[in-house]
């Protein structure tokens, strides 16, 4: 007995204990083949889904024209629309009477209503009003369709040498610059990276940490000389690596399949991804600290991190089209900032000089959450 008391408090030999922890965690990940396969394949499937199936750019846009006073100019506008493969003019009427019915039967997506004596107005150089009615039952494709028609009108207008001022122009220009064809894959890939990173880091960490709670192994780890922060680091490191690998995979897939551009620095993008992963991992640890079962942790992570990432980050629904009270709330969603950064780097080629503000917000979040996560993880159970 006396031979054993001599040791006093053995300081945990950090490299070996932590190394053992990381190795153990990697075993968990690699041996759960099913989950690992899902984690690796799901991002690829999502790239393909978002790229092909869930396009919000519209290919076959059916236009119903209302032209009370047809003449050469309006026919020219109509031909102009018809000549692009995107548009198909499905009807030309002299009154709006049939429009409601056409929308309801879904034979038209957009109605272009010209005023009486459209040509005269243009010729006089007046501000000629044109009514653009869009089937916005799907708000996303609605805005997209509207931009298409606006763009076509703007083209038409500039073709005319008449010095009139067009009915609409403003937003189209800014959109066109970075994403001229409005390819949805370009917009989705950054959001997708955020979603996948959230899934891998927040959800998987929350589940694996609460599993240790359920198994009773956490109680033993707590009683061990390992410090709480060492347990967290050991838990989190392998998922950080997994998240990094998956980010590379998504970027590669997006590039190969959809030729999504990467105009900025790859290093910066990956560094920002790591920053975002740290934020998500900390959230996962926080969720696990507040739940007692794997199921509760999974639900908590889904509701607390996945849902805001999918719905409130601007990934699918543009923040600008959210109601006013909801917009400030999106500021606390980390993915919102990451998506701005990723889109900036990938589509605009922006560097840290432009994105420092968003990066700072993300770094602040990472620091705050990391501290909170370590704090939430006491040296004791209560």
């Amino acid at each position: 007995m006396s031979s054993r008391t001599g040791g006093r408090v053995r300081a945990p030999r950090l490299p070996s204990a932590l190394g053992a922890f990381v190795r153990k965690e990697l075993h968990h990940i690699v041996r759960d083949r099913q989950t690992l396969a899902i984690l690796l394949l799901m991002p690829l499937v999502q790239v393909l889904l978002f790229g092909y199936a869930l396009r919000t750019d519209v290919r076959d846009l059916r236009v119903a024209m209302v032209d009370p006073t047809p003449d050469v100019l309006t026919v020219r506008l109509r031909n102009r629309l018809e000549s692009t493969p995107r548009f198909r003019v499905v009807s030309t009427a002299t009154s709006t009477a049939l429009l409601e019915d056409q929308f309801q039967r879904r034979v038209a997506d957009v109605a272009l209503v010209l005023p009486t004596s459209f040509a005269d107005g243009l010729a006089r150089g007046d501000r000629t009003p044109v009514l653009l009615v869009t089937d916005a039952s799907d708000p996303n494709s609605g805005t997209t369709m509207q931009s298409y028609v606006r763009a076509a009108l703007a083209d038409f207008e500039s073709d005319l040498s008449a010095p009139g001022r067009g009915p609409v122009r403003i937003q189209v220009a800014s959109r066109m610059r970075y994403n001229p064809t409005l390819e949805s894959a370009n917009l989705f890939v950054p959001g997708l990276i955020a979603l996948v990173l959230t899934l891998v880091s927040a959800l998987m960490t929350a589940i694996s940490l609460s599993r240790e709670k359920e198994q009773g192994t956490l109680e033993v780890l707590l009683v061990s000389p390992l410090r709480p922060w060492q347990i967290i680091v050991g838990k989190v490191l392998p998922y950080l690596a997994l998240g990094f690998a998956i980010t590379c995979l998504v970027l590669l897939a997006a590039r190969v399949v959809f030729a999504v551009p990467l105009r900025g620095s790859l290093t910066l993008l990956l560094a920002e991804s790591v920053l975002y992963t740290i934020v998500s991992l900390s959230l996962g640890v926080l969720v696990a600290a507040r739940t007692t079962s794997q199921r509760a942790a999974m639900l908590g992570a889904l509701v607390g991190t996945m849902m805001p990432t999918a719905l409130l980050s601007g990934m699918i629904f543009p923040i600008s089209s959210m109601p006013g009270w909801l917009r400030p709330i999106t500021n606390v969603v980390p993915a919102r900032w990451f998506i701005v950064i990723a889109r900036g780097i990938m589509l605009k080629g922006a560097g840290l000089g432009i994105l420092w503000h968003e990066t700072l917000v993300l770094a602040g979040m990472a620091l705050l959450l990391l501290v909170a996560a370590t704090r939430s993880f006491h040296a004791r159970l209560d």
Binding site: R4, T5, G7, A20, G216, T217, V223
Partner: protein, 316 residues
Amino acid sequence: MTRADPAVTASSLGKRYGDVVALDDVTFDVRVGELFGLIGPDGAGKTSLFRLLTTVQLPDAGSARVLGLDVVKDYRAIRSRIGYMPGRFSLYPDLSVEENLRFFASVFGTTIEAGERLIAPIYSQIAPFADRRAGALSGGMKQKLALCCALVHLPELLLLDEPTTGVDAVSRREFWDLLETLRADGLTIVASTPYMDEAMRCERVALIQHGRILDIADPRTIGARFDRPLLALRSAERLRLLRALRALPDAHSVFPFGDAVHYADARADRDGSTVAAGLQRVLAEQGIRDVQVTPIEPGIEDVFMELMQRAPAATA
């Protein structure tokens, strides 16, 4: 710490979770080299007591010293010197036997080889399955592996929270054989169990109910505290027998007990065979004729039932 000092001292320990009192005024000590049992039903407070002693939870009242160290102040020093198997401890099912052991060894800053002296007799039994995943082991094997993991860093005190729950009878016996070997080797062990046959293998047991210690005694002599005639009755019509016994004016307590019914008589001065003859007659009058009545020596369970029956009255 000298040899005379207890390995564990608890003084008036209290713990509550919200409105639920888990432990109330718990005082006891465990001598160095002792195999000490905590006996009580589910929810009695055994797990809470372990959590206070292993320093993973803080007491709300009272104090405790483990290996001479305070559980609140010196928690870090205590942690590296105790071995602990929590109640639901089930290892990592996706790691192999050897990987589990190696992991817990490195977490405690040691190696399997260094822990050899203590774990060798146990590990030799599971060594043939070293490459098997822990999840594929039988219940008994799992518990042996868990025991190895708790011992690999050569702790001075072993704390086991219901180590044999959900394990078959043969493996339970083997597991307790191992504990006795460890104890003979000088290790101090505190183990909780709901099984009375396991309690019999401890040197002393504390009976716990509703967070209070009812009694602390040697399990082999605890029966002497039962000061009434006790009889075991068997009949094919067990339910009728129970009802008939409970209706008797002199019945002190009547409990179903395995395939028998244990009956304690309220008249403490009578001897067992007199009461037995009387019962036989009364029951026959009621038409229960196949009944066998035998006077018996009270066991630990009888004492426990008796104490449990008294306890709520004492607190009310």
